[in-house]
Subunit: 331 residues, 2 copies
């Protein structure tokens, strides 16, 4: 019997990861900085090349890969039967801020990949992540589950009553773009005072006038008062955002991932304190934790989208991602 | 063949409506001020009495009613197989504000009615209303639909991908309790700065120091600057709340009801202006209108919960609610 392989691709504003897996686990993981120069087929071509490189790295034939799951920053806009990516973190043409070195209005990734592979699923990265949580993480035994990423941007995926929420363009839920203040700084999406503008990793860095939220957390640990105030405000608003989300979907469990959650020792106590202060009847019995899949969520999320049903029991039993090969950086 | 009758009951903080219907339409509608004094069976007993009075008014035998749909302000808390009502507008024991003349922690309405009728469905009023919209209103042909009530309180019901969202306690979505400002006045639920505290009918009245939002709208029409400022702020925050809701569920249509929407001529243009300013990709193709069922939504919502499937086509075809008898006020 021929071995069966699947590929997972995670597309973020900073890097793209490609992963190859079979029923026994992850065979290869490579990543590259996201290419934002050139025409709007730059990213589709980069994804194609990365899958080839990941296959090479796994020492398998490239044409053994028939299924590709893509977990990407979004939103999407529907164009005929395909959805196109219209993400403010990738498409410079959506705002005129000059923040990105391109003028892309959209990226037709799904159509591009469907011409190359027989089975392609493209989903919002947080939707894909909550699928992973439902299969392999916190959600295995519950019907109401939320995954939230707190990273450069902020997003969420939701199971309500056992159903994945997708919405008319597969855009639900763009948690980072809920309003959290009557006024406030502008988000990449154009909104003023939304959660992403107030609490995201880039908002934390912006408020401290540095390039990365990591620096603010380092200074927090050294007792810098400004860093402490910025992180407290960001965490408070983030927790109020979680309370708003829970008011909307009445969930059981919120799993938190994303690079900002590397500092979960600082953030989780702040989040818990603020969250449980909100409307008690709704908040009191919701569990909020850092994702147990944290380090591997990007890989598992993309793979979960196209994983054959027959693999799932084995992956649940053996958690093979814990034995994954190291991620290889490509130029 | 015996005629078949169903009863619908709508429970709000101000009044309780009981409605009797058969396959041809609504036969009787009565209402009474909500009784908030006494022990926590006051409301269950009042509901029981009102159904009897509505049946009497319709000149039918009381025991011909086997099915009761209840559309009520909430949230709920699960107690065994039944949900109990723990609504801040009914249960004085939830906050210590002294706003209500009772110390109820919860109301065991569902269990009470299940001992009296063979078929009982109790739902949040906005969940029931969106069921009515899906069957008889804006939602007949779409899968992603939201109903929002803008009244003394603010709430919503949501269909996402054709499924009604309910959540672990049937509490979803408590739209009024999403945070919309970093700080702000306190809501009946205990939150500071949530949508209900900023934009509800009672918030509008509170900010103008009068007993009813109606007075503020009257003064708005007479050009009073303070009234204009209060209503503009309330409408702006309400629209930002709708944008947050849409960011979460990526909907197609938002139907608006509730007493504040009696002044929709003032409010809808404000809502549209603010809503479509938010993140374009998500907001641009969402339709926001006053509910076409507006005047009858409370009756139809409660009835829709228990309406036999065989009646629905006839009700859709003939819109019999348009010929409903006048509502009778009882002491």
């Amino acid at each position: 019997m021929m071995s069966e392989y699947i590929a997972g691709v995670d597309i973020g504003g900073t890097k793209i990861i490609a992963t190859i897996a079979d029923v026994t686990g992850i065979k290869s993981r490579v990543y590259q900085q996201t290419r934002l120069h050139g025409d709007n087929f730059t990213i589709p071509k980069q994804v194609y090349a990365l899958i080839q490189l990941a296959a090479e790295n796994a020492q398998i034939q490239y044409d053994e890969i028939k299924s590709v799951g893509v977990s990407t920053c979004s939103p999407f806009l529907r164009n005929g039967i395909y959805k196109e990516i219209v993400a403010p973190n990738l498409c410079g043409g959506l705002t005129n801020s000059g923040r990105l070195p391109n003028d892309w209005q959209s990226i037709a990734l799904e159509e591009f990949l469907c011409n190359l592979y027989s089975h392609v699923i493209v989903e919002n990265d947080c939707v894909a992540s909550v699928v992973a949580e439902k299969l392999f993480g916190a959600g295995k035994f519950i019907d109401n589950l939320v995954y939230v990423t707190w990273s450069t941007g902020i997003g969420a995926g939701i199971y309500a009553d056992g159903k994945l929420i997708r919405g008319k363009n597969g855009n639900a839920p763009h948690f980072g773009h809920i309003f959290i203040a009557e006024d406030g700084p502008q988000c990449g999406c154009g909104n003023y005072g939304d959660l992403e503008a107030l609490s995201s990793g880039s908002a934390i860095a912006r408020d401290y006038n540095v390039s990365s939220a990591k620096i603010v957390f380092d200074d927090y640990r050294h007792g810098n008062e400004k860093a402490i105030a910025i992180i407290k405000r960001a965490a408070r608003n983030f927790a109020r955002g979680l309370a708003s989300l829970n008011a909307m979907v009445d969930t059981e469990y919120i799993s938190l991932g994303g690079s900002v959650m590397n500092d979960s020792d600082i953030l989780l106590p702040m989040i818990h304190e603020e969250f449980y202060k909100s409307f008690q009847v709704l908040s009191h019995n919701v569990i909020i934790e850092k994702s147990a899949l944290f380090q591997y969520i990007a890989d598992i999320a993309a793979l979960a989208l196209v994983m054959p049903a027959s693999w799932i029991e084995q992956w649940r039993t053996y958690s093979p991602w814990l034995e994954s090969p190291k991620m290889i950086k490509l130029d």
